[in-house]
């Protein structure tokens, strides 16, 4: 796997140089037009332009590096998922972490979206995270979900997130600069004399002006071609790595098939996060756009990826390479000297177990996911004696609520400190070192309250011990009995 990372690095450096050159030339030309010297290319404008372009890109880059992951997660409205909440998803990610030999377990997020998609973040690898939509978890079988998670894990171990984020920053800077310049030219063209006054010097040479405008139009397109070409390559490589990790290409293939046939569009689509997803969320949104600009997709056609995966006879990079060459009728994906698998890497068989799409299982999955989402929104789970689990919104405002099935009055928990935490910040962390929790019993009947971690704790009428252990955070909670009611 390491050879791939090396290869990726080298190619990425080339991409960076190309994008950077485009950025610098653009900056220089704009500077020259705005602040022309006495003779062409002698004034301060050219250096000022380069400086502004580079500083601008650096600021964007710094923001992406330090806050990018958090921004992506909050834009995507993602909820942090713990092992208790969704053991299967957690297990699958941990399995892939073991297979990939990643030192640290990535965080897992659930994106509340009916569309089927997934993405990985982690510009800093130690802050890596994998996010999947709940539509995906609900509709995919275990093997399929594993394929998807493996693909995202590959993006992390191949350092795709890092490279594509910074390439995206350069692309974004180029686009914004040229857009700003062209707009400025358009609005000031009516009053050209004013621009002359502002710059202090003479007007820029008409030929240079023309070159600058043409370049400003072409630069974003050029940059996008570089960017998309490398992004698509990385998708193939991530597929190859995913197969290498799971040794089961059929899982990923059938997951891609399901995703491709899914009519629901991703609500949280965002231009800058697009290359991170497992399939391009853009394609579904603007089908027409795809044919107009052939270079306009960050992802290769899904059909092609599926047929490569289905044609594999082994799980090694060499197998992927030969299938890739056969189907794409193109030069090799990975340079021959980089392939170090000397022996064949065998495929594995399907995991026996659940069959996806069976209605009762899907319903159950749907309910589980709904619970996670509700817990993330601060909902309280009140189990009733009759077996009903009531989900109470945090904004109810009453201290008790009747059970809709049996009519018993359920007392709302008084200890609600922890459950007001919403969003990606896990509630457990914030109260990890708090003083021992206690709860006072109100009656002799069934009672339930929420632990500080948000996990509901239920007391039966027979419960008489001094402590109860919360099943969410494993902490002991002291139960006090007021003398009068006892």
């Amino acid at each position: 796997m390491w050879e791939l990372i090396e290869n990726n690095k080298r190619r990425s450096v080339r991409l960076f140089v190309c994008l950077f050159v485009v950025l610098v030339v653009l900056g220089a030309l704009i500077g020259e037009v705005v602040l022309p010297g006495a003779r062409p290319f002698t004034g301060p404008g050219i250096w000022l332009g380069i400086g502004v372009a580079v500083v601008f890109a650096s600021i964007l880059g710094a923001v992406a590096y330090w806050a990018g992951d958090d921004i992506v997660m909050s834009v995507s409205k993602a909820i942090l998922v713990t092992k208790e909440q969704h053991p299967q998803l957690y297990n699958i990610v941990e399995e892939m972490q073991i297979a990939a030999g990643l030192g640290r377990m990535p965080e897992i997020y659930l994106v509340v979206d009916d569309a089927m998609n997934a993405f990985a973040t982690g510009i800093r690898p130690e802050k890596a995270a994998i996010a999947v939509t709940d539509g995906m978890v609900e509709r995919l079988s275990r093997d399929e979900l594993q394929g998807v998670v493996a693909h995202e894990m590959s993006h992390i171990v191949n350092r795709d997130v890092l490279f594509m984020s910074f390439a995206g920053v350069l692309l974004g800077s180029i686009t914004m600069l040229s857009e700003g310049f062209l707009r400025g030219m358009f609005y000031s063209s009516g009053s050209g004399s004013r621009r002359g006054k502002l710059s202090g010097g003479g007007r820029s040479h008409p030929a240079i002006l023309l070159i600058a405008i043409v370049f400003a139009v072409l630069a974003p397109i050029l940059a996008r071609i570089f960017y998309f070409a490398i992004s698509r390559r990385r998708e193939y490589l991530a597929d190859a790595t995913a197969v290498r990790l799971t040794r089961y290409p059929m899982g990923l293939a059938s997951a891609l098939e399901k995703i491709n046939g899914d009519p629901v569009d991703l609500e949280i689509y965002n231009r800058f996060t697009a290359p991170l997803f497992i399939v391009d969320p853009y394609v579904g949104l603007h089908q027409s756009q795809r044919s107009i600009i052939p270079t306009g997709s960050t992802h290769p056609p899904v059909e092609e990826r599926i047929s490569i995966l289905r044609a594999l006879s082994g799980a090694g990079f060499r197998d992927y390479q030969s299938a890739y060459v056969k189907i794409r009728k193109e030069a090799e994906l990975i340079p021959e000297r980089m392939l170090r698998d000397k022996t064949a890497v065998p495929l594995r068989e399907a995991t026996a177990g659940e069959t996806a799409g069976v209605e009762p299982i899907r319903k159950q999955k749907h309910r589980e996911l709904g619970d996670i989402v509700m817990a993330g929104a601060g909902f309280l789970f009140l189990p009733c004696v009759c077996g009903l689990k009531m989900k109470v919104p945090p904004t109810l405002g009453a201290s008790s609520v009747p059970c809709p099935r049996c009519g018993r009055l359920l007392i709302l928990p008084s200890v609600t400190a922890g459950i007001t935490h919403t969003g990606p910040e896990p509630a457990q962390k914030s109260v990890a070192d708090a003083a021992p929790l206690s709860y006072e019993r109100k009656s002799d009947g069934w009672e339930s309250f929420a632990c500080d971690c948000g996990h509901p704790v239920q007391l039966s009428p027979l419960f008489r011990s001094r402590f109860i252990r919360c099943r969410g955070c494993e902490k002991d909670i002291e139960i006090r009995y007021p003398g009068t009611t006892r």
Binding site: P87, N91, E94, E95, M96, I98, T351, A352
Partner: protein
Amino acid sequence: MMVSVLIFIGTLLVIGIALFLAIVSIYNGLVGLRNRVKNGWSQIDVQLKRRHDLIPNLVETAKGYMQHERETFIRVTEARAKAMGAGAGSPREVGQAEGGLSDALAKFLLTVENYPELKANENFLRLQEELTSTENRIAYARQAYNDDVLQYNNKIEMFPSNIIAGMFQFLKSEFFQIENVKERETPQVKF
């Protein structure tokens, strides 16, 4: 005369230094690989332990539902004890013992098929997911370990690193296989 002797000695010196550097780099490479193999093995160990820890819970949950399957329980418990006993052994011994456990688990889970109530038990479902995941983890840890062993053993056999390996007694590592006829059929229940 004097000059040619000096040249001769100088050449010898250069060759000697080059040889020494080559030996050092090959030796360090071998040590690095050996450590990776060791680390890979300890990863497998962690997952096997996880598997062993899971079984008492599984048996405990199932017992209430399957009162007439004492033999199955005994078989699983014994296989687990044997597997735990083999924990410090060579990869082959561990593989054999774990294979026995896999067999017993497969039979156990086959019996579970006859108890729909148990299959619907929430706790049991959770344990089953854990078991599936553990089997996968073992498979992936084994995969990584065997990849490293292959690389390490190749280095030990191939020229010129085989000379260094022989000098410093780098021994070939064993591959890890869970020896079982139905080894790839991880013990799981069909819903």
